[in-house]
């Protein structure tokens, strides 16, 4: 089936104390976004990327595409004020029945294996949400104070959140709610269940300066 990857790179760099958004920072002389785009392109040769960027960084994104990929499999579109709106903008460009990966641009360390497993499961069950075990003890804040949660029942959610287009496109027509923290919550609000799949410990989201160092180390280990 046709495949689209909506790569959301909406950040404008505020958390990194850096004028350059983190998706454009360099690891081994190549931007974070290069690695993210590259792994999707090399995993499936019939996959189309829809890259969602803040308007003010669309030309920087264009330079990366022209500099590293020189191909027609990447389209850029403008993001919105929320992740929901950014993804919704990207989904306008999904014009065929397909499997759609929605992925954080700053998660540049995922493997082709994870992408393939998400595809296979989304074909079968309609969705595939990568999740990993939580490392820390966790507690939930309650009206009476707080209480321990059984760590084995809690999962940390990653991307690519992967769906059949027949599910994802109508789900994104519902009205925005604050609780939409990812695509899975949108699909649930639309009334459907989502299915988890085992994620990857290395599939980190680069948010703090020290995460760049981790990413550099892990990319070094791969190559």
């Amino acid at each position: 089936m046709k495949k689209y990857a909506v790569i959301v790179a909406g950040g404008t760099g505020k958390r990194m104390q850096n004028d350059i958004p983190k998706q454009f920072l360099l690891i081994n002389n190549k931007p974070v976004l290069f690695y993210t785009l590259n792994v999707f392109l090399k995993t499936f040769n019939d996959l189309q990327i829809i890259l969602v960027l803040p308007v003010e960084f669309m030309s920087m994104g264009r330079e990366i595409i022209d500099g590293y990929f020189n191909n027609e499999r990447i389209i850029i579109t403008a993001g919105g004020d929320t992740r929901f709106q950014s993804v919704k903008n990207g989904l306008q460009l999904v014009v065929e029945e397909s499997i759609v990966f929605v992925h954080d641009g700053v998660r540049c360390l995922l493997s082709p294996d994870l992408i393939k497993r998400c595809y296979d499961q989304a074909i079968e069950t309609g969705s595939a949400i990568p999740a990993i075990a939580i490392k820390d003890s966790v507690r939930i804040i309650t009206d009476e104070g707080n209480e321990a949660l059984d760590r084995s029942s809690i999962k940390c959610i990653q991307t690519p959140q992967t769906f059949h287009s027949k599910i994802l496109l109508p789900a994104f027509n519902i009205d925005y709610k604050d609780k939409f923290t990812d695509e899975a919550t949108v699909v649930e609000a639309y009334g459907l269940k989502v299915f988890l799949i085992e994620g990857e410990e290395n599939n980190i989201k680069i948010t703090r300066p020290v995460d760049m160092l981790v990413a550099e180390k892990l990319i070094g280990d791969f190559s």
Copy 2:
């Protein structure tokens, strides 16, 4: 009030694919455990450390103490098969009414400020459990599948878990249960509430090889 820090360094290195347990690995030529012990010793000059180590690594621990600290404020004792048993062994050496910090030996990046805040709160409320906001979206596995949790109500728990000795010592006389993942869960099983306090993002637990790199970077930033 008198202060004890029970530093639990029970790991024997299996997860790090390394013959040396992670608490003995070097960061800037000093063992992880040096940094952990040092921050407690320098925060309070009337604090006694009870260092709990696997039997086979007690002599290595002794070398660190003799090499770096040369003082009488650190006692070593042998750990048990579980964290509960290791902490219980350490608590045998708490002989005065006191505030007791129980801390992971591999969390070497906490600040004196966190230790002081835990002390102050434990004096006031009997306990202080450092907790930080969770970065990822989280889901809970249910009988029917899985569902999103409100991320803002979920906290990741750190150490030093800090208690008044009048609470902690009797709590550790109850029978061991599998759900005891930390000291807070023991105190709750004993029938008391625990109080959270804001933890620190840098107060990471060194578990994977890449965490060593993060610790090295963060220690470099401090010094």
